[in-house]
Amino acid sequence: MRLELSRTTAIATILALSGAFANSASAAESLQDVMKRRNLSEKDMLAAAKTYTPSGGRDEFLTFSSSGHAGSIIVYGIPSMRIYKYIAVFTPEPWQGYGFDDESKALLKAGSPQGQTINWGDTHHPNLSKTNGDYDGQWLFINDKSTPRIAVISLKDFETRQIVVNPVLTNEHGGAFVTNNTEYVMEASQLPSPLGHKYAPLDKFNDEFRGGITYWKFNKDAGKIEQENSFTLELPPYSQDLVSSGKGPSEDWAFLNSFCSERYVGGIESGKPPFEAGCSANDTDFMHIINWKKAEAVFKAGKFTKINGMAVIPLKTVIDEGLVYLVPEPKSPHGVDVSPDGKFVIVGGKLDSHGSVFDFAKMKAQIDAKKFVGKDAYGFPILDMKESLHTQVALGLGPLHNQYDSKPCVVYTSLYVDSQIVKWDYCQGKVLDKIAIQYNVGHLLTMGGDTMHPDGHYLVALNKLSIDRFNPVGPLHPQNHQLIDISGDKMELLYDLPIGLGEPHQAVAIRADKLKPTIRYKYGTDSRTEEESKFAVRPGSEKIVRTPGKVEVFGTVIRSHYNPEIVEAEEGDQVTFHWTNSERAEDETHGFAISQNDVNLSLEPGKTASATIEHAKAGVYPYYCTEFCSALHLEMEGYLMVRPKGSAIEKASTNVGTVYTKADFDKQYKACLDTQSVIDKVVAYITSTNFKDFPTAVGQVEDATDQLKFGTEARAKADDYAKKEDWQNATLWAGQWWQYQVKAADIGLRTKTYLEQNGARTVK
């Protein structure tokens, strides 16, 4: 009734307003009018139609983009280019409670070297877990370049599950790339250092400084990297760069780029030319061809030394066992990308204007025949470059990265200097098309572009500079991700997405239907470990445990209250809150923030999270819910009362707030009974249909049943107090019963509408 009224009022207001502006607000605009007003061309309209996703619509692909030194992952959809989420990885992020609850603090600490907590990371290359060379939609990995680390993210809940610190490397770029069946996550060093976080003077660069590639063993079922089953290959002190796993025929191999094989050490302050000059002097650097399958056997045979707890296969063993071969590649290359069939490896020249297509079979033949043109300074065998190449194609200036199309032999390469994407045929060695992008593209992304079966269709240029492409927002500019349609012969630019957080490097995109995330946790889950939290409690068994110097709260949250709501502590106590969200309804997340403390929890349905205040200071600390959870969200509150040391708990006096009488109780009780009759009618309708055929409806009915169960419990308490003629408590509990009823009714009505709209049938 009230809703009807307010709607009528609103319409009347709109009519009155439109009367006042009769000239401008005539009939609805036509498409042509809008095009004219917004200065849109036919081409713009086509691009809009290809990207626009109507309200409630879904994207075909989900992209996981690094956010560079913002230390997180950005999730957005294709083709809509709508941002869905930022997944906190190396950097605390309060919305997700990440780095603000005890559980994630422990995760960040375990993922930092030497007992400190590093609260940021330079994320570069997100990679999805693969089964038989294709994405399986289970796990996501990302590296930290600054402090070599790998993070594991679960695609069940889009949360970081583990961070491992590389105990031997001090700088890396070649992570986090996976082998064809995610047996290992690869992490290759960049700036050489003595292995094991040790010191050596720079004049011993050639002898003491080393590169390395770590093979982190991944347990796919547990979703855990196992350091005890991981190993590192010691490599020469070149600046190793990106790495790519072989596929199909080359599955047991990996291909690792390098630059600065000059082993130049700069020192501009003492008059030496800088690194940038000395590191780009030679015409070629070395691509490392790694037989990781053989390396695994060598590791398992125990031919390694332990450095800082990491199994390292020494340089000499790496050479003697034939684990790594070198082949010259155009100098200072960047991208190294294996073709979907695993037969070719394309290297982007960066400082060379060619794309170099290496033929795996040709390289393998030289290795098998032990036909080498020489050895590097450390004794690594070098293959003949010419004999290893399938072809080299002049692409343009600054070719960086390569991504594959679903069409055979078609690859796309980013041209950083030319600000272009080039589409070319790597079998025939010819350029097919070029498109300008704005500006200076780094990585590029095709759908499933690094798998054995790319999906084609779209490409995203991850541009480093946006300069003048967006509304100005100050000196720090967003980067520009440009969506390009690659389904036709000519590439077509569709859409610009400003990236408002961080400096993305690589991104990966997976078909949305390959993902199936959960919407709620199993009751009492520690989301950071995905295990049952030992701190979880059920409604009704909440407790406050006091030991000398410690107050530990085991509570629950639901729309819209905390239980307990008042917590007493003494100055100096360590106060810990463990909250479990007892909601089962989708999207009913609650928060927990407490005044003057560095605490914010995100409590998704079913989750248990904790916050510890080490030495409570005397005072009154209100706490409240930070997620707008319901109409009574603002009332979702509580107090931590920290009384000065030595003072006694004062007994709560009765003259607090409103006093309720029998009349109040009767009124509330009647309202409850009226509401119940509405609920009964809705329930009767739902159960008269085939609602069980609709998973959405079934889920909602479960939620509503939950609410009604809570309601029944509250009603029992109200009845109990009424019997004792305690009208104060009887009224309050009747009120609580009504709260649950309203929620149940709301869900029930939504279900009813859903069933009606989706053509549910009446059944007996």
């Binding site: 030319p273 940038e276 000059a277 000395g278 780009s280 002097a281 015409d283 200072s332 400082l351 200036l397 200097v417 030319d418 600000s419 272009q420 300008a436 704005q438 500006y439 200076n440 500079l465 300069i467 003048d468 509304n471 100005p472």
Partner: protein, 215 residues
Amino acid sequence: MTELQKPSAAPFRLLTLAGMAILAAAFFSPIWWVSLKAPNYPPETFPDGVRIVFQFNGVKNGCQLRQSKEVEEDEPLDCVHEMNTINHYIGMHPIADGAKYEIAAAPYLFAGVGVMLLAFMFYSGPFWWLLALPAIFVPIGFVADYSGWLWYYGHTLSPMGAFTVKPFMPTVFGEGKVAQFSTYSYPDYGFGLLVVASFAVLLALLLRRKQLRQR
């Protein structure tokens, strides 16, 4: 011939004076400009490209403060600095290395040219005409020196440069292409002043010759 019939020295002196004034103005004027354009210097935002201007008193920034209602900018992009940054990728000398002796000597050379012109106005002894020649040859001298330096820049690329580019002669006049950059090199109004001054002094020289012959 009587004194009164002698041809007047006034026209040639006036012309010489004008030439001197114009030369003095040219000293402070842009003589030649060079601009680079590339995809990441979009014309809407960089209407001048990356532009530098050559003057006798140094190499100056040729980029203007952009007129935009959208952003607040209180200084124009320093395109001398920007050009140096771009050039270092191919190992090219910084702009400040070029013509530094010429630039240092320029005030004295110009003063010298001025003094010679002054003398030219009154001296009529042997080789009087030599005093006017430097002023006449300033424009040619500039182009010769400028071209020489461009050749030097294009042919002394440091092997430490990240991008290897074959030695090349940068365009003196007109448009060219180096890597992703389109280059533009054209005379500015200061060069026009030099040419006008040159012609003025040349004309003065001819007038003076006529006058002296008639004397």
